[in-house]
C-alpha cells in the first residue's frame, strides 16, 4: 500500500512517461484546467453576489467610502494575513516562471481571489482576470509540486493554470491559450502548446457547464466599409495614447503612494475613497465595468462626445488610483472599458467631422478600441485579437481588428519598450525568457564552470622549484596559498615570470612570494555570472580565480564558459 502511494506520488518516474512525458502533461493539464476554471467561477460568482448585495446602498452619500473600505480590507488581508504583495500578480507569475521554474506558494491560489473580490466588489476600478490568472498558475504549480514534477513540467502546468483561468472567465479557450503562451511563458514550443490547449478546453468546459455557454459581449452584425478600415489607423493611435497614459498614470500614482509615510491599508483606503467620490458622480468608472461595455457595444450609449471622452479619461484615473494605491485586481477589464469608450469617442469625433460619410455602427469601434487597448497595454497583439473575437463572437470584424491591434502594439512599443506586465521585471533585469543570453547566464552557476586542475604553490618557494611545477602543469595560472592556513594570497601568471625564466642566476635568488600578483581580481562562488563576465571584459582578462572564504577553489575562464554556454543553449533551445 505504501509502495503504491509512493508510486502515485512520483508519476514522472513511471516507465510509461519516463522517456516521453507528453501524455502525463496532458492528464495533469486537464486537472489543472478544471481547478483553475473553478477558481475563476468562484471569483465571478462572489463578485456578482457582492455587487448585488451592495447595489442597494449605492444611492446613499456614504457609498463613496465603500471602495475605500474594500481596498483597505483587501490590503490588510494581503499584508497581515497571507503576507503577500499587492498588485495584480501577473509579473510575480512571470518572474516565478523565468527564475524559479514556476514555483509559487499554495496560498497564492486563493489570496488574490479574496483580495480582488473585496476591492472590485466594493466598487474599486479593477478587473478579476489577473487575480484569477495568479490563482490558476499557483494551482498548476502546486499540483506539479505535489507530484514531484520537474521544472519544465511545472512551468507547463503554470501556463495551463493561467490558460484555464482566462478561458473560463471569458468563455474564450483560444485567448486563454494565447495569453498563457504569449505573455506568461513567452515560449512557443509544442511541448507547452498542447497541454495548455487542453487546459484551456477543460477550463472553458467547466465554465460552460456551470454558467452556460454565453458570449460575454454579443453584438449585432456590422457592415464594414473600406473607409472604416482606414479610420482604424486613427483609432489605433488613440488606443496607443490611452494605453501609454494608463501605464504612466498607474506607475506615477504608485510612486506617489509609495512615498507617503502611512500604513499600506490607509494608503489603499485614501485611493479607494477618491475612487468612491468620483464614482458617486460617474458610476461608469466603478467596478470591473462589464455592464458599460455591453451598452457601448450594443451602440446604445447615449452620452455625447465630451461625456464619452471624459468617461474614458476618468476610468484611466480611477483604475490608476485603485491599483496604484494598493488595491488588488487586474488591468484586463478596465482596459476593455477604456478601450470601448476610446472607440466610442473616436466614432463620435469622426461622425462630427465627416458627417456626410457613411460610418459603421459605433459598437464596432467600441469593440476595436478594446482590442487596441489590450494589445497596447500587454504588447501582446495575438491575445488582443483572439480575446476580442471570442468575447464578442465577432469574426466579421477580424480585418480592422488585426489592423488596430498591430498598429497599437507597435506604437506602444516605441514609447514604452516593455509591456505593462514586464516593465518592472525588465527594470530589475529579471525578465529571463528561455533561450536568451540572460537566461543561460542565470542558469549556469560558477560551481559548474570551476576548473580545478590548477596546482597551488606557497609563497616561500624558490623560483627553481617553481619551474619544476610549471613543467608538470598545463595551466598558465598558479594560485599562491599560505603554507599554514591555506589562505589565498595571490596569483602567479606565467607572463609574470617569463623574464626570469631563462636567467639561471635568478632561479635560486627569487621566491614565488616576490613574483606573485597580490591585487588580483577574484570572484566568489555565488557571484552573478553576467557580472563576472563584465569584470572580465573590463579588465580584458580571460580567466579569474574563484575564491570563497579566502580559500582558492579553482579558476573560471572564458574558454570553459563558452563550452558550457553552448551546451546549455543547445539543451535549452533544442527539442526535448
Amino acid at each position: 500500500m505504501a509502495r503504491l502511494f509512493k508510486k502515485l506520488k512520483y508519476p514522472g518516474s513511471w516507465s510509461l512517461f519516463r522517456s516521453d512525458d507528453r501524455l502525463l502533461l496532458i492528464l495533469f493539464a486537464i486537472a489543472v484546467g478544471i481547478c483553475s476554471g473553478l477558481a475563476a467561477l468562484v471569483l465571478n460568482r462572489s463578485l456578482e453576489t457582492m455587487l448585488e448585495w451592495l447595489h442597494h446602498y449605492r444611492t446613499y452619500w456614504w457609498a463613496i467610502f465603500l471602495p475605500a473600505a474594500g481596498a483597505a480590507l483587501s490590503s490588510l488581508f494581503l499584508e497581515k494575513i497571507v503576507n503577500e504583495g499587492a498588485g495584480h500578480g501577473v509579473p510575480e507569475v512571470i518572474y516565478a516562471v523565468s527564475r524559479y521554474g514556476g514555483l509559487l506558494r499554495l496560498r497564492s491560489s486563493f489570496s488574490r481571489l479574496i483580495s480582488s473580490c473585496l476591492t472590485i466588489g466594493s466598487g474599486g476600478s479593477a478587473g478579476p482576470e489577473a487575480p484569477v490568472v495568479m490563482s490558476g498558475a499557483a494551482i498548476g504549480s502546486n499540483i506539479a509540486q505535489a507530484f514531484s514534477l520537474n521544472d519544465r513540467q511545472r512551468v507547463a502546468l503554470v501556463g495551463c493554470g493561467a490558460a484555464g483561468a482566462i478561458a473560463a472567465i471569458f468563455n474564450a479557450p483560444i485567448s486563454g491559450m494565447v495569453f498563457a503562451i504569449e505573455v506568461i511563458l513567452g515560449e512557443w514550443s509544442t511541448m507547452n502548446i498542447i497541454p495548455i490547449a487542453i487546459a484551456a478546453v477543460a477550463g472553458t468546459e467547466v465554465s460552460r457547464l456551470l454558467k452556460g455557454n454565453q458570449i460575454a459581449f454579443a453584438h449585432r452584425d456590422f457592415n464594414i466599409h473600406f473607409n472604416d478600415i482606414l479610420a482604424c489607423v486613427g483609432l489605433a493611435i488613440c488606443c496607443a495614447l490611452a494605453s501609454i497614459l494608463l501605464t504612466r498614470a498607474l506607475r506615477s500614482i504608485h510612486h506617489v503612494s509609495k512615498g507617503v509615510a502611512l500604513p499600506k491599508w490607509i494608503r489603499a483606503a485614501i485611493g479607494g475613497s477618491m475612487v468612491g467620490a468620483i464614482g458617486y458622480f460617474l458610476p461608469y468608472a466603478l467596478g470591473e465595468g462589464y455592464h458599460a461595455i455591453r451598452t457601448a457595444i450594443d451602440g446604445e450609449f447615449s452620452g455625447g462626445l465630451v461625456l464619452v471622452t471624459v468617461i474614458a479619461l476618468v476610468k484611466i484615473l480611477t483604475t490608476s488610483l485603485t491599483l496604484g494605491s494598493g488595491g488588488s485586481g487586474g488591468i484586463f477589464a478596465p482596459c476593455l472599458v477604456i478601450g470601448a469608450f476610446v472607440g466610442l469617442s473616436f466614432h463620435r469625433f469622426l461622425a462630427a467631422v465627416w458627417s456626410s460619410a457613411l460610418w459603421v455602427n459605433e459598437g464596432c469601434f467600441a469593440l476595436l478600441g478594446m482590442a487596441g487597448l489590450i494589445s497596447g497595454i500587454l504588447q501582446a497583439p495575438l491575445t488582443g485579437i483572439f480575446l476580442i473575437i471570442e468575447i464578442t463572437g465577432g469574426y466579421g470584424v477580424i480585418l480592422p481588428l488585426i489592423v488596430v491591434s498591430a498598429i497599437s502594439t507597435t506604437l506602444c512599443h516605441y514609447l514604452e519598450p516593455a509591456s505593462f506586465y514586464l516593465k518592472d521585471l525588465v527594470e530589475q533585469g529579471q525578465l529571463l525568457r528561455p533561450g536568451t543570453d540572460a537566461r543561460v547566464l542565470t542558469d549556469l552557476s560558477i560551481q559548474e564552470l570551476l576548473e580545478t586542475d590548477c596546482i597551488c604553490v606557497h609563497p616561500n618557494m624558490r623560483l627553481a622549484d617553481f619551474i619544476g611545477i610549471v613543467k608538470s602543469s598545463h595551466r598558465n595560472y598558479f594560485p599562491v596559498e599560505d603554507q599554514e592556513n591555506r589562505q589565498f594570497v595571490g596569483m602567479i601568471h606565467l607572463d609574470d615570470i617569463r623574464p626570469y625564466l631563462f636567467d639561471p642566476a635568478m632561479h635560486h635568488a627569487v621566491l614565488t612570494g616576490q613574483l606573485m600578483n597580490t591585487h588580483v581580481k577574484t570572484v566568489s562562488l555565488h557571484d552573478d555570472l553576467s557580472e563576472v563576465l563584465q569584470k572580465m571584459d573590463e579588465g580584458r582578462i580571460f580567466s579569474m580565480p574563484v575564491v570563497s572564504d579566502n580559500r582558492f577553489l579553482g579558476m573560471i575562464s572564458k574558454a570553459t564558459l563558452l563550452d558550457q554556454y553552448r551546451k546549455e543553449l543547445m539543451v535549452q533551445t533544442g527539442r526535448f
Partner: protein
Amino acid sequence: MKLPIITLAGALNLPASTIERWIRQGRIPIQRSGTSGTEVIFSHAALEKWAATHNLPFSLTGDQAEDLLPETLESLVSAMQRGKVCHRVAGDDAAAVLRSAVDRIDFLSEEIREELFEKLMEREQLASTGIGNGIAIPHPRDPLSRPPETPVITTCFLEKPINFNAIDDQPVSVFFILISPTVKHHLHLLSRLSYCIRDKAFVSFLNQHPDAAALHSRIAEFEKQLDDL
C-alpha cells in the same frame, strides 16, 4: 539503467552539478532514484538519442579516459638495444658514411632503407646534425612513410673522423641515427641523448668506441640520474 550521478557526468563530459540541475529543470531524460539518492535512473537508448539531438558527447565505456592517459615514452636504453651498435663504419665524406651506415641497418627492408637515406641527406642539407664534440645525430625530419612501431637508435662508430659541417667545425666520429614513429618520441629521445652528450666524460668514453654492452650500461646510468631528477 541505474548509475551513480558522477559516472554519468563523466560519460557526458559535464560537471555533476550541471546534470543535477538539468534533472531538476527537466531538460534531460533522467530521473533521480528516490528523493535524495546520488544514483540516477535512465534508459540508455533514450539518453543516447537525446545526446545525439543536442550534439553532446555521450559514451559510457570510458574510451575517452583512456585517450587522455599520457603516452608511455620509451627509454633511451631500450631504443638503443632495439637498434645496433656498428663499429668501423667506412666512408670519406658525409654522404658515403651515411650510405654505409644505413646499409648496416639490416633490420629494415631495402625499400625503407632507401627512403631513410634520402631523408637523412635531405635533413643534412637543411642544417647539419653535427652537434659538436665529434658527435652527430642524423635523423629524418618527418617520420618515415612506414615507421617502426617503436623508436630505434643505431649507434655508428666511424672508421675515421670526417668533416660533417658540425657546429663546432670538429670532425665527427660518432653517429646516433634516430628513427622514431612520431615527432613526440623523437623529441623525447633527443632531449635524453643531449643530456648524456653534455657530459665530458661520456664524450671521451664514446671516443674509445666501446662495445654494445658497455655503452648500454653507461646510458642506463645516465637515465637513472634523469629519472631521479
